[in-house]
């Protein structure tokens, strides 16, 4: 199975707190991967590393086999979209939010370290999406384009921020608790959208969630974290029925019953 992101001996420290301890993990390409675990498990710390929003204290994070430090950071961030827990709308209309993302200057290698060899893409670049197509894929009625983005509901904002992330034509999409601030039914709809999106756009998706039902329904792979460590990872079916580790079983199966 081709690997999208891989982490080797990764440690992270924020402030004086160790948030990640000796992480070794491969994220399979083209899958929907859920990062689950209790609060403080290090899920957000880990997913932020993948878009180089933070650098690890030690260890190596690679994308397509290339260490992140060797990839021009703006190129990485265009190829790997990131959706935050609290969606931030830029000033202007919904359409403005999308065109801002589309029209950002393409990364130039002149001012950044260029990789020894170009990092291979996960697949041939598809033609760029139109703003309306991106909105449709994210489950937003394109009629909303002209609305002031600040007036949207929480669920609409999160969908627009997903559509905005699609405007850079990414190969992978990272989502940090994308539904935690939303009503459960809105959250379920967005999860369904993400799953469809991953299939139609052939995206590698990594999402942090603390809602196990969400992980179970939407993901193909599940990574269970606790106290800064990856306890176990594998196909979602296996993880939610017959995990190897006691801690995984205690958490995934107990919480599942609630």
């Amino acid at each position: 199975m081709p690997v999208s992101f891989s982490l080797r001996q990764v440690e992270q420290v924020r402030g004086n707190v160790r948030t990640l301890t000796t992480i070794d993990l491969d994220i399979p390409a083209g899958e929907v991967v859920a990062l689950v675990g209790p609060s403080g498990a290090g899920k957000t710390s880990l997913i932020r590393l993948l878009d180089r929003l933070d650098d690890p204290a030690s260890g190596t994070v690679s994308y397509q086999g290339a260490p992140l430090a060797s990839i021009p950071v703006r190129e990485l961030r265009r190829r790997v979209g990131f959706v935050f827990q609290a969606p931030v709308m830029f000033a202007g209309s919904v359409a403005d939010n999308l065109t801002i993302a589309r029209d950002l200057p393409r990364p130039t290698s002149s001012n950044l370290p260029s990789p020894a060899a170009p990092v291979p893409r996960e697949r041939a670049p598809r033609p760029a999406l139109s703003p309306d197509d991106a909105l449709r894929l994210a489950g937003v009625d394109p009629a909303l384009s002209t609305r002031d983005a600040q007036t949207l509901s929480g669920g609409e904002r999160q969908r627009v921020s997903i559509a905005r992330a699609l405007m850079t034509n990414p190969e992978a999409l990272l989502l940090d608790e994308p539904t935690s601030a939303l009503d459960p039914d809105v959250a379920d709809h967005i999860m369904a959208t993400i799953r469809t999106l991953a299939d139609t756009m052939q995206l590698t998706v990594v999402m942090v969630t603390h809602r196990l039902a969400e992980a179970k329904a939407a993901s193909t792979h599940t990574v269970f974290m606790d106290a800064g460590r990856v306890i176990e990872s594998g196909p979602t079916d296996m993880m939610f029925t017959a995990p190897n580790e006691t801690r995984t079983r205690d958490y995934l199966l107990r919480e599942d019953r609630e």
């Binding site: 402030g15 180089r52 430090a69 703006r74 961030r77 979209g81 950002l104």
Partner: protein, 270 residues
């Protein structure tokens, strides 16, 4: 700012030490009122009044000395001391990247004040000699005072906006935007805040405010028409100096909020 009366002008009333003693009654009123209202400012007023007397008398002697000796290096040394004092004042309240901000603000004020003062010296006033302390030091004093406020406001507002808009800035970075693009709105707001007092000053000058320099020249016996012309030069000079200083501070200080890998720098602990 008192400009020395021109030869032949006889309209200035000389003040003697006894006159100043009479004037001190007025600051005593402020002290009495703050004691009565229990503002806790009595001690502050007492220290402030003494400091004002000591500082002003000292600067009066320094100016008199500089104007008599007319040495270019002594004039430049004085300007440098003023610049350093202004830089300390502009940066002492900031916590984020303070050592770097000291260098940034000092350089920004040097550039802002240097460019405008050189221009006024060489093109507008055409001073002979170029370092004529009677003009250079009062003008630099006004410039550096305003540039200092511009630098402090720009830095303070940028810090606040970068904290307030952390999510927005990071959302831009995550889309592959440059740090400059990601922080465009915080920088814009910091610059507006830094320039607003100068703009307001231009709007109300002569209506609600009679600038100190103009007032001083008129009291010193200069014709109001001459005083107004000087004031116009000063107003424009301040606008230029504050704009240059604020832009240098905002654009340079911005870099301290990002890491080399174009990430948000970690929040300061606590």
């Amino acid at each position: 700012m008192i400009v020395a009366p021109q030869a032949g002008s006889s309209s200035v009333i000389s003040l003697h030490w006894l006159d100043l003693a009479f004037a001190s009654a007025l600051v005593l009123i402020a002290m009495a009122l703050s004691a009565w209202q229990r503002l806790g400012l009595l001690r502050g007023f007492a220290i402030g009044a003494v400091r004002a007397v000591v500082q002003l008398v000292a600067v009066g002697y320094v100016l008199a000395f500089l104007i008599t000796t007319r040495r270019w290096y002594l004039v430049l040394l004085t300007l440098l001391v003023m610049l350093v004092a202004a830089t300390v004042t502009a940066t002492e309240r900031q916590k984020h990247g303070r050592a770097k901000l000291f260098v940034i603000s000092g350089t920004a004020m040097l550039v802002g004040a240097g460019v405008t003062l050189t221009y006024v010296d060489a093109v507008v006033l055409r001073l002979h000699p170029w370092y004529d302390p009677q003009y250079l030091i009062p003008l630099f004093g006004m410039i550096i005072g305003n540039a200092m406020n511009g630098a402090a406001l720009a830095a303070e507002r940028l810090t606040g906006e970068m904290e307030l808009r952390r999510g927005e800035v990071e959302a831009y970075l995550a889309l592959g935007a440059s740090p400059a693009r990601a922080s465009a709105e915080p920088v814009r707001r910091a610059l507006v805040a830094a320039l607003m007092p100068t703009l307001n000053g231009l709007m109300v000058v002569g209506l609600v405010s009679l600038p100190g320099m103009m007032t001083g020249q008129v009291i010193a016996g200069a014709s109001p028409i001459t005083a107004v012309r000087y004031q116009i030069v000063v107003a424009f000079m301040l606008a230029g100096a504050v704009a240059i200083t604020s832009v240098v501070v905002a654009l340079w200080y911005r870099s301290t909020f990002f890491t080399a890998a174009e990430q948000l720098a970690e929040r300061r602990a606590g």
